[in-house]
Symmetry: C2
Subunit: 522 residues, 2 copies
């Protein structure tokens, strides 16, 4: 498919600048082609369009928004092999992984459509009037409503599932908001294809073309001008701590501060109890190596820290497994230079030893899987050892005894996940869980943190620095709540109320009425 | 009752400083007595104690936390007339109002206790495993869990309901969090009495005395050191925009930024359609005057802006009603000086005319009810006219026509509430509502914004500058969600899961299981 290599703003593919940036093939380690960078004016126009589209878009019924989301999924699939090949050129992730990721992307869009068709997600809550009370009790009805234009920063490591039409965009649209997407500069062609799919869906569903805009560009200034735009009501972001924190800081200093939902990754520590190590050490070593190498370690939930009692047999098993794991390509030269800086910093630490890998190439993005090790005492006293190194590397933390294992559990920073490998009735399991849950969004027993199920009970979040907003999730059904807010309607006549709050429960949704959950009419 | 005039830290009434501040009787306009200011070390110790208490407090069952909250309500009531008289001395609000407020305070504490006994508030969500799927689907279970020490800044205008044991403290405790309260310096005696009640409840329920701390003091530095303390996980605040924004800004610059739930007030515009004005002008004028004068205008939801088509009869009716409304006392000299500064600034504006009041006394806190007026054109072009003046004053905005009325609706800033007075099948009602809902937390039809019902469907919030966090509410059941976050447990054995997530639904709570809401066992 011929691409414009431009931005999609107010329904037009536009490029008002001579500035360009290029995408990159990780396998050949060569630039592919040039894309036009949007200007600050382009960015402002995208937001003006999104703002203008809001009053119409928010009036669509849940059924209409569901049909729109389903059309987006259909249009993504209709792009066929073009999308997969383009994404593979820009990411080197391979067609098997990308085919799976496309399925996941369409599934999560359809899951939001199903939520809209069900309708109960708005959490309708009604307290009926009581004129005889002193003072008289008003009729009060509350539900989640959209907030206005949402700014989305897709991630580099999931070009589809966290891409232009990934979870943030899908959930923001599902809630009824226009979206402005600042495409990730690592995969502008994949981004343009996704925007083409979205534009087709907008047209087929008769939705104004300014409801979704996509801005291409690689400069920090472009990102900043979008975050600072006072018509943007919230930001969704997936990426590095440095970039995420800078967006948080900028959003906090606006005239009108807005919420930033930034998922910034973590080290996802895996704790192995002595009983589990004795019973399943080799199996766990193999499972960990495969989890560390998966996606060339470029997952937010990659296990970057492993904590056990010191055990030379397990250490050898894990080292062997890491050495034997398949090697992949880093996504982009900037990720390679980031990983190199992280590894250099870790290896300068005299308390850290190399067990496998770490010899990063200067010429290729193909990357060895690495294992380094340190003592619990070093880990407990040196915060630099808690920092994520984004790539296929893990730090084995050796503890002297169970007390030290628990001390490490108590000392971990905010993380997306923690994992406990334990045996049945393992005396350490519950104390570990009690400590770890205070620091994570998801606690896994006898599994591996990679693989983030998309479902209602998923919590892809965690205390800072893993995320900016630990109470919310960026994966799973409840991601929609980030882009909605409650509005209460007091003594509003039936004909003015949203359908979800009228006496007659036409949609048959679950509602809380006078503190009782029910699907009845009033 | 003899008061210590000290802070309650780690179970002890402590004063390590020679610094003092004094409370003030608004009716006599005289200082009452001296209270010891806590030091930064006292504040740090309060947080250390709260942090230490968390692991035990979070393990209490919902039933146990409910019993604790109920005991707090009992202890508040057991303070008897001492509490009412003390609060009246410090606020001048009168015993009738304060008796009502005490009832509201105990009712809302008991409402949180009832939520805990019901148990469904944790929003338990379960997706069961499917080993046959490729890849195998894990078992994932998610619920709201406490976050750790919460810092509460009570308000001056509700010494009980938004006081030391007001909604923020009650909801933070209900969610399972220790609380550190920075008592409002306008009513330290009322605060100490409330803390005495809380300490008695802690003791009777065998809960560690460091679970709740109360720090007395009047300096900005004391507030800042608490907000900056890295062990504080969230802040609840009710007060002025200036103070709230400074807390938001400080929280955003911490090493670990935290959410600030600040309710900072608003002008609560009231729109009157021409049809409503013709049919009920005098009745609405009287209703507005009474709402403006209520609590000497010191309510977050006081109607500070009134928008109609220009109508000399209504203007006279409203002026007369305001002149006839009962006068009350401002709470504190600092509120009087704040109101005076706001009024001076408004009256300096040549587009503003006085209709009633505005002659504030220098010697007394007794305060006239005031009405000023301006044109829609002035209001639309001058942001200073949108700023809240905290006290019994309202700005009548005169519009030339319906288009201007709608333009004003589109231009209002973030507000807690907006109100529409309209007639049945009033053609202006729906367009007004569609515009206003984007700017407010609660939309009222044919009523008055003062009077905030405490119930599940209340939304006491709104876009900035009304609140820092428009998606959440500080009044009503859902206030508890501010101080909880979701945690997901993956493949966790039954004996390690919280009771709310176990297969057997022992508490009979509502749970979402594989996308279906039910109360069954698994």
């Amino acid at each position: 498919m011929n691409l414009t290599k431009k931005s999609f703003i107010n329904g037009q593919w536009q490029a008002t600048t001579g500035e360009t940036f290029s995408n990159h093939n990780p396998v050949t380690n060569e630039s592919i082609t040039q894309y036009a960078s949007a200007t600050k004016t382009d960015a402002a126009n995208a937001v003006i369009g999104a703002r203008a589209s809001f009053s119409a878009f928010k009036k669509l019924s849940g059924q209409e928004r569901a049909a729109f989301l389903e059309q987006i999924a259909i249009e993504i699939e209709a792009l066929g092999d073009d999308l997969l090949n383009t994404a593979n050129d820009e990411t080197g992730l391979g067609l098997v992984r990308l085919t799976g990721e496309r399925g996941r992307t369409c599934n999560q869009i359809r899951a939001f459509a199903n939520m809209l068709k069900d309708g109960s997600w708005v959490r309708a809550t009604i307290d009926t009037a009581d004129a005889n009370r002193t003072p008289p009790k008003p009729d009060l009805r509350r539900m989640l409503r959209p907030i206005g234009p949402v700014l989305v920063f897709p991630a580099s490591n999931f070009p589809l599932a966290f891409g232009v039409l990934g979870g943030d965009t899908a959930s923001a649209l599902a809630a009824g908001n226009p979206v402005v997407i600042k495409a990730h500069p690592a995969h502008p062609a994949t981004s343009e294809l996704c925007m083409i799919a979205a534009a087709r869906a907008l047209e087929k569903c008769n939705i104004a073309s300014n409801t979704i805009a996509m801005v291409q560009g690689s400069t920090i200034e472009l990102a900043q001008t979008l975050v600072a735009n006072e018509d943007i009501q919230a930001v969704g972001f997936t990426g590095s701590l440095m970039a995420g924190r800078s967006i948080m800081d900028l959003a906090a200093t606006r005239t009108t501060p807005i919420p930033v939902y930034a998922e910034m990754g973590s080290t996802n520590p895996v704790f192995i109890t002595p009983d589990a190590l004795a019973a399943r050490g080799n199996e766990i070593a193999n499972g960990l190596a495969s989890s560390i190498a998966m996606g060339t370690g470029q997952f937010c939930t990659s296990p970057g820290v492993i904590v056990t009692l010191e055990n030379s047999q397990f250490q050898k098993q894990l080292t062997d497994a890491i050495n034997n794991a398949a090697q992949g390509y880093l996504l982009h030269p900037s990720i390679a230079s980031g990983l190199k800086a992280s590894v250099d910093s870790l290896l300068k630490n005299e308390k850290v030893e190399i067990l496998a890998g770490t010899n990063l190439s200067e010429d290729s993005l193909k990357t060895p899987n690495s294992l380094i090790t340190t003592s619990a005492q070093a880990f407990l006293t040196d915060n630099t050892l808690h920092v994520e190194a984004f790539g296929p590397i893990s730090l084995l933390v050796n503890c002297k005894d169970e007390q030290e294992l628990l001390a490490v559990a108590n000392a971990i920073h905010g993380n997306l996940t923690a994992t406990i490998h334990c045996q049945d009735n393992d005396a350490l399991a519950t104390p570990l869980a009690q400590l770890l849950e205070d620091h994570v969004g998801r606690l896994i027993i006898n599994g591996y943190p990679t693989g983030v199920e998309v479902c209602a009970s998923q919590q892809h979040s965690g205390p800072y620095p893993a995320c900016s907003s630990p109470a919310t999730t960026s994966v799973g059904s409840d991601a929609i709540s980030r882009f909605a807010r409650f509005i209460a309607y007091q003594d509003m006549p039936q004909n003015m109320l949203p359908i979800e709050l009228q006496d007659k429960n036409s949609l048959q949704i679950l509602r809380q009425i006078n503190n009782d959950y029910q699907r009845s009419d009033i």
